[in-house]
């Protein structure tokens, strides 16, 4: 199978999964007690007005019509109306998306930048203090609930030492970028530094689990690769040790790591939800939690669908990347 056909097949599977996600999410509303019209209307409203609102929301139609309408709406980017703000749900969701994305990317950067070197050091200095340190760190990292870690970072670094702000996101990276392309460099720079100052603690909070996980994976992968015949051959022919380690062994180690990290993206997004709650970060997670508490189902459903679609798309990209870096991969 060629790469193109492989990607086509994965895309079709992805579309199927997205359909499944949409169906499950659509069903969520019907296992929930409480009528959406009651969320929207004051309790003493007349029966006539009530009927009118129910009809406007399409809640009087048969279930399968509502289902088809919902999917048809999604295809045109319509996720219904927020029951709380009475505005377009998709608008609210897209407005919150940049905050979550930048947090997830910042956390991934933190994780990869720290974890890969740490894992390599740990593997090449096996049973030395550096290795023990890295092992203890990675065990603690995968065992620590990130919301608690976030609160501890706030207590120590923000409250006691006053190095970072305790919460909030006054500017986004998108604002800084907008000013950059408008040649307002001074403004862009000050926004960028403000953003970095605010994103540091949330990114560490969200990234620690991944740092720990990738450290473990890099360590065990490097140990396995360094024991392989090709490494011995490379050393025997006099290749410098750094070249053996980084060009040969590390490259082969990174391939399986990509897959595992891809599978763990869901955990990353789940972690972002709770990290946002700790730092008052105005992203999708905050939107979902507030939406559930207010029973604003269209917003909750739309947010979950956006996350599900993001997960599927990222997984296809990870597969493509995997195929790209590993020429031996067979597509089936």
């Amino acid at each position: 199978m060629s790469l193109a056909r492989f990607l086509l097949k994965r895309t079709l599977q992805g579309l199927f999964v997205i359909w499944g996600v949409v169906t499950v999410v659509f069903g969520l509303r019907f296992i929930s007690p409480g009528d959406p019209a009651n969320v929207l209307l004051p309790p003493d409203v007349s029966e006539g007005t009530r009927q009118q609102v129910v009809a406007e929301l399409g809640l009087d139609k048969p279930l399968y019509v509502q289902y088809v309408d919902y999917i048809a709406g999604l295809l045109t980017g319509d996720m219904g109306m927020s029951l709380v703000t009475r505005t377009d749900a998709s608008g609210r969701i897209l407005g919150k998306l940049p905050a979550t994305l930048e947090l997830a990317v910042a956390a991934t950067v933190v994780a990869v930048v720290i974890a890969v070197p740490l894992g390599v050091v740990s593997a090449t200095r096996r049973h030395q203090p550096a290795d023990y340190g890295a092992t203890v760190f990675s065990l603690a990292g995968i065992s620590t609930p990130n919301f608690w870690l976030g609160i501890m970072l706030i207590i120590v670094l923000a409250v006691q030492l006053n190095l970072f702000p305790t919460s909030r996101r006054p500017v986004g990276i998108d604002d800084a970028f907008a000013h950059l392309v408008a040649f307002q460099f001074g403004l862009a720079w000050s926004e960028l530094t403000t953003w970095l100052w605010h994103v540091t603690l949330p990114a560490i909070t969200l990234g620690t689990y991944f740092t720990a996980l990738i450290t473990r994976l890099t360590r065990s992968g490097m140990l396995e690769e360094l024991g392989q015949g090709y490494v011995r051959a490379a050393r025997a022919k006099g290749l410098p040790e750094t070249l053996v380690r980084y060009k040969h062994a590390l490259r082969n180690t990174l391939i399986p790591i990509i897959t595992v990290v891809g599978l763990q993206l869901g955990t990353l997004i789940g972690g972002a939800v709770i990290t946002e709650a700790v730092f008052n970060w105005p992203g999708l997670g905050t939107l979902i939690i507030n939406g559930i508490q207010a029973r604003d189902w269209p917003v909750v459903q739309g947010s979950i669908i956006v996350i599900g679609v993001g997960f599927v798309v990222l997984n296809i990209l990870v597969d493509a990347l995997y195929a790209y870096v590993n020429p031996q991969v067979t597509y089936d």
Partner: protein, 368 residues
Amino acid sequence: MIDRLRLLGRALERGVSPRTLRNLRRELRQSALAKVGIVIVLFMVAMAAFAPLFAPHDPTQQNLGESQNPPLGFSTQETEEVSVQENGSVVIENGTPKTEERTVYQNASLAHPLGTDANGRDILSRVVYGARTSMLVGILGTLLAAVVGVTVGLTAGYYGGRVDDALMRGADIMLAFPSLVLAIALVGVWGTAAKRIPDPIVTSGLSETMRPMVGWETGMPESIVIPGTVVIVVALVNWVWFARVARGEALSLRQEEYVKAARALGASDRYIIARHVLPNAITPIIVLGTIQVAAIILLESALSFLGFSGTSLSWGFDIALGRQYQSTSWWIAAMPGLAIVLTVVGLNLLGDWLRDALDPDIGGEGGV
């Protein structure tokens, strides 16, 4: 369901061979970390089971006079400026309010070694009782997820073909939801119903007889709260891991000679799955189960932290309370979190040990 549990129990009996036991012992001798893990987990399980005998105070007993006492070793003494009042009005001296320095003590005491929370409740006792919630949800949730997931996975893997395709596509859909997000949505939809059962340690009078021996007051809470909805939800979002592992095992086991032989002899599929496939697939399932207890404890604490908890005696719930006092009393949030870290470290070490001893082929890190 009961039937399936019995099958699982029988499989466990058959699954542990003398060779496996030898491996377990050898790995245990060689690994200090494995011993640490076992000690931590046994301690936490004992603490959860016998909470009324471990907790120095009633975890729900409020005492506003002892609010926000720091833990042992963290007594503080601060001076603050207060305005002097006489007969209910502020004394003015040279045109400004007269102030004096007053010393504010925050005294740690042996009675509350981990300090007290904002309502003066003993944090150590709350940590002890929180272990109950975590262990109950962790173990019950994992068992439920395992029963559902293993049943689905073995069926899919054993029959293969369309059954397999359908079940595994369903699993793909489940995996597209981040487990925390799905769990929040489900608990949000269903609410957090919980069931109270009488605490056998208290109702049997055991705590009434033992506690006075060490000079502790009696009168502990008489019921255990089982957060039923949370158990079901964490199982619903985690069964798919069991299904994937069980399916993989069944796919390869159905090619084995003894399975073919049993089929040729006319054994029913149900019998073959229960007596031949499951016992041979049980090892990776046990390893996964250990890691899943840890994952579910983390998930439960996250749910409780966000306010979706069936009980107010939960580590995550207490961390959320402590967060409100993050600028004055760090210990309220810190202590229950340390308990979570300790428990999950123990379970992860236990899982590593079981993996190395039972299944050298699984290889390092799984997707969990």
